[in-house]
Symmetry: C2
Subunit: 297 residues, 2 copies
């Protein structure tokens, strides 16, 4: 099994990691790699459509007034990326402009910054709970979206751990039984895919992503009733996850299902990580990858 | 000609501006509006492919070490969005976590912030000049990419002026004559499209986007040899632009064409603004828009 090395990637032309290395793991894709990226996402979108999911496209920002309802900033402040701008008042812009701009360590020499009122999207599905807050669903509904997601990390690896990356999600909101059935059926379809691909992808139980274990009594509940299972490639890289939120988002965003609190679940795919897993299994030439098997999910 | 009002948009279900209004003009799209968005971008991508443009997908960030070579931070500091994170040292994260997080004005109550080393992409094409720096092209090449672009503004209007929006670009890098011919031919094709659509879209000369007029002697050259022409809808909204950079990017990024300094040009489309223009011309039901005419560019 060839290793995914920067030099190997450079030799095949794409992804261009020489530039990408400088931008915190983020990769530039072209040629066969970009074609593979499109085919992988198209396969998950096709799965979503077969499930009758409605497609949405959401903004890059999540507003602070919505964040206040979730505990993202409390649980994951180290991962949050804040879109900040220079204060426009007084001579602040002029002082910035006449300053050094960028120092020898590549640090931008900011002057006064306005307090941010948003973060950059850390998970694609959050927008659905925000979008449908205070609604009462008459039937269980499925949705899909793809978004650039931003998670600041201590270190980065191109394709595998990027500050920004693309996440495709298929989300179910509605009745408890139907939401659970969606998760079971789709996980089963995906398990079939993993077997046909003959890649080492195993479902593994992960810690609850919504609660800070050290501070939160719900963490014990999570251990008793695990709600996040990851698609772990090669025992080291989570290329996706299946998450059962119970009524967590239904409660905080007041989403109802026939006048009861809605349940929700999502299945998420990290597209760049699927590229990394295919490359590790099948080599650095995407033309040799068995991408056609993705069409049978 | 119906006006594009928030209430009208709400009645047709999408884009959902009730949520989007809170996130600085950024729109959520679904249903027929998202379908129209995809068809508009697909038409420009098809045009790019007919021109034999190579497709690329680039990261969200531009690194400070590249910004140092351009004068973006000097010319447009008021539009720059910096992806900032909390300092991970000492008890900074713990102080943030135990603080107010978000105040009553929806301002996130940051503690110490790390100096940023990047900005969020303000224009999709910049990545090409960065990507191909220090290369010598044996032939003139065409490229296309789409990216989320971020420009902070004093006020926002959904679809028309969003903090983040999607830009499709078709870029030509190489010999002076061929680059100019690319611009002329493609502008002519687009003029034909504008006529067939029977929309009020006029080419208008704009100020050079790369120089700060107040500080830069090149601004006079710009007036004599305009290099930016905008596709202006209804005499008020630039839905795209054609830009001739001469050897500006070739010089600062050391891109050669057969050992001479490369010239470059780009044609850019703001996809959300095309939605706004279609809605203003043809009403709020995208099924009634003449999108099939886009396929003939």
């Amino acid at each position: 099994m060839p290793e995914l090395t920067i030099s190997a990637l450079r030799e095949t032309g794409a992804p261009d990691c020489s530039h990408a290395m400088q931008v915190f793991g983020q990769t530039a894709l072209s040629g066969d790699w970009l074609e593979a990226y499109h085919r992988i996402d198209a396969a998950f979108l096709a799965l979503a459509r077969r499930l009758n999911a409605e497609e949405y496209q959401f903004p890059s920002f999540i507003h602070a007034s919505e964040l206040r309802k979730m505990d993202y900033l409390h649980s994951f402040p180290q991962h949050a990326t804040f879109p900040q701008v220079l204060r426009q008042s007084g001579d602040n812009i002029q002082r910035f402009r006449s300053g050094e701009l960028v120092n020898a360590d590549d640090e931008i020499q900011l002057t006064g910054m306005a307090a941010p009122k948003a973060i950059l999207t850390p998970a694609a599905c959050y927008h659905f709970y925000i979008n449908f807050q205070q609604q009462d669903f008459a039937k269980t509904r499925l949705f899909t979206t793809r978004n650039n997601c931003f998670r600041h990390e201590k270190q980065y690896v191109p394709l595998e751990r990027q500050w920004s990356f693309t996440m495709r999600e298929i989300v179910c909101i509605g009745g408890e039984d139907e939401v659970q059935r969606y998760l079971q059926v789709t996980k089963s379809r995906l398990s079939g895919l993993f077997a046909r691909l003959n890649m080492d992808i195993q479902w593994q139980t992960a810690q609850d992503p919504f609660f800070d274990p050290g501070n939160n009594p719900k963490h014990l509940l999570q251990k008793l009733h695990p709600n996040k299972q990851e698609m772990v490639f090669d025992d080291r890289l989570a290329i996706g996850s299946a998450n059962y939120h119970r009524s967590y988002f239904g409660e905080i965003f007041d989403i109802k299902f026939n006048n009861t609190c809605a349940h929700s679940a999502c299945i998420a795919f990290g597209i760049e990580r699927w590229l990394a897993a295919f490359a590790a299994c099948f080599g650095d030439n995407p033309q040799l990858w068995p991408l056609e098997l993705l069409e049978e999910i």
